[in-house]
């Protein structure tokens, strides 16, 4: 078997008395797209933050291509080839869309300024952001900011992409386009871990879904099976009386 791109093994994280993530394990194989879902407060974003070195796990190991990345700082993790988007877009607010991406291309990937500009234009084009390239991101709407978030992390050329909600707030008509964008990212060879609440995106974009509730893994499998799982239904709808 190939070495997993990402291997999370027995990770636990407490915040005071609250156990946000409890003995959580999963592997992501190269080229795979994994969905991570669960009710609000299940610990999905905390898990991403642990993988990305924002929080130190109380126990457990995070491996990227077989080597331990626990305790590395976020910029080092970025340089290794892991990128993440934030649930609430975190752009560089006083910079233009183009500059936002140039920063990531220069620092995340070590490109020279002219190369970074060229890459940035290409990525903006791919994500339909070209008309907004000279807009200061402070003035962009939420939907465009979600795209920009994706554009910025793609500029660091990740091999593993952690996406914390990309479709939230989109209309039904906008979904096919975002699915297409996700497909294109996969086709470029990027492994994806996707956190998402929009089921249509989840079922169509990923190969496998992991369901999380109160910090624990309650189900794992292909999208069709997981949706029918009794524990999953209970986690979302509550236990039957």
């Amino acid at each position: 078997m190939e070495t997993p791109v990402l291997s999370v093994a027995g990770v636990t994280k407490h915040f005071g008395g609250l156990t946000a993530v409890k003995n959580f394990s999963f592997d992501v194989q190269p080229g795979e797209a994994i969905g991570l879902m669960g009710p609000n407060g299940a610990g999905k974003t905390t898990l991403v933050n642990i993988i990305y070195g924002i929080y130190k796990p109380d126990s457990g190991k995070i491996r990227f291509r077989g080597s331990n990345i626990g305790g590395l700082s976020p910029h080092r993790i970025c340089h290794l080839g892991i990128a993440r988007t934030y649930q609430i877009p975190q752009p560089f607010a006083t910079l233009t869309a183009l500059q936002n991406i140039i920063v990531a291309a220069i620092y995340g990937r070590g490109l020279s300024r002219p190369d970074a500009e060229k890459t940035a234009h290409e990525i903006l084009e791919q994500l339909d952001l070209s008309p907004k390239k000279n807009t200061v991101t402070l003035d962009m709407d939420e939907v465009a900011l979600k795209r920009l978030e994706l554009a910025r992390v793609l500029a660091t050329r990740p091999s593993l992409l952690l996406i914390d909600e990309v479709a939230a707030g989109l209309t039904e008509e906008e979904l096919p386009r975002i699915l297409e964008i996700l497909r294109n990212i996969r086709q470029a060879g990027v492994t994806i871990l996707l956190i998402e609440h929009v089921m249509k995106v989840m079922t169509e974009a990923v190969d496998r879904i992991i369901v999380m509730d109160r910090g624990e893994k309650i189900a794992e499998g292909n999208p069709g099976d997981v949706m029918k799982d009794r524990k999953v239904i209970e986690a979302y709808l509550g236990e039957p009386e």
Binding site: P91, A93, V103, Y107, A155
Partner: protein, 327 residues
């Protein structure tokens, strides 16, 4: 690439014209006391630019700039005592100030935000006590204090000192221009806008801030050394004085922090205030404080912040405030 609207537009031509005019002043018979005020302006502008680099662009509220000024001055004075020429003392002042910044960055970079400010505040005071008791060369002074004359300073014509500080000042302006347009400037802007996003975009936040801190210390040390050539004498209490911090904060904040031209406008006002308030002695600081509060009330982003907003009526997004530093 389109230039960011929050950065200064315009070419180098106005700067060049101003530099040439200022350089000609001593030759066309401008009165001595005018030249003295211009000398002060050059020093203050260089210092304020370096503080703006830290406070405005890196989010580092450094209150230890007097440490770099004093170290620059002391290095210069001590070098002249061991017989080295003034120009070597100047350069040594910049280097020693930078080395000192490297050393103190170990403890103070563990702190952030307001704690960084407080941590840096005590550094000049520690140096003041140290230099009061440390006398590496020369015998004991008559009376008290641990002052040193800058040997040979009196032989240097005032116009030479004027030109030297003009060069340092214009150098600091060009340096800021260059930094803000370089990858470093772009990285700092990203950190300022969103530190966590900057880190996950591959920016080593610590490294960029560290380089800035050391670079700022070097030029601050250089300007401090140049100031003490003109003074001809250095002693710990004035060299490591918190008044320096007051002056460069006033200049930067009045003009507009995080604006490239802010310190220049602010430094003009600070020097003008010195000139106006010279006869009031101790009360002048109080009056300057009141003026600062007043300016903060009517122009919270400094004078140039208000000017820019007034000039950008036709492009509405320019009127909005840029996001504050986070994280």
């Amino acid at each position: 690439m389109k230039v960011n609207p929050f950065r200064l537009r315009g070419g180098l031509a106005p700067l060049l014209i101003a530099t040439v005019l200022l350089a000609l002043f001593p030759l066309i018979g401008v009165p001595q006391n005018w030249l003295l005020y211009l000398f002060l302006f050059f020093i203050y502008l260089a210092l304020a630019n370096m503080w703006n680099w830290l406070a405005g662009y890196c989010g580092l509220i450094s209150l230890c700039q007097p440490a770099f000024i004093g170290i620059g001055g002391y290095t210069l004075a001590l070098m002249t005592w061991v017989g080295l020429p003034i120009w070597q003392g100047l350069i040594a002042g910049a280097i020693i100030a930078a080395l000192f910044a490297v050393i103190i960055s170990i403890p103070v970079f563990r702190l952030s935000g307001i704690y960084f400010a407080v941590g840096t505040l005590i550094v000049p005071e520690l140096l003041r006590l140290f230099f009061l008791n440390w006398r590496p060369v020369g015998g004991l002074l008559y009376g008290k204090g641990a002052g040193y004359a800058v040997k040979g300073a009196t032989t240097i014509p005032a116009t030479d000192i004027y030109w030297l500080t003009l060069i340092i000042c214009i150098g600091s302006v060009l340096m800021m221009r260059f930094i803000l347009r370089s990858n470093l400037g772009l990285g700092l802007a990203a950190i300022r806008d969103n530190a966590s996003s900057a880190a996950s975009s591959g920016i080593n936040v610590f490294k960029l801030k560290f380089y800035s801190f050391v670079g700022s210390a070097a030029i601050t040390g250089l300007a401090g050394a140049a100031f003490y050539i003109q003074q001809g004498f250095i002693e710990p209490t004035s060299a490591f004085n918190v008044r320096w911090t007051m002056v460069l904060m006033l200049a930067t904040v009045i003009g507009g922090v995080r604006l490239e031209e802010g310190p220049a406008v602010g430094a003009i006002i600070v020097v003008f205030l010195h000139f106006l308030l010279a006869r009031y002695g101790g009360v002048s600081l109080l009056i300057q404080g009141v003026i600062l509060v007043f300016i903060m009330l009517i122009a919270p982003q400094g004078i140039m912040g208000s000017v820019r907003r007034a000039l950008s009526h036709r492009t509405p997004h320019l009127r909005r405030q840029p996001a504050r530093t986070r994280g």
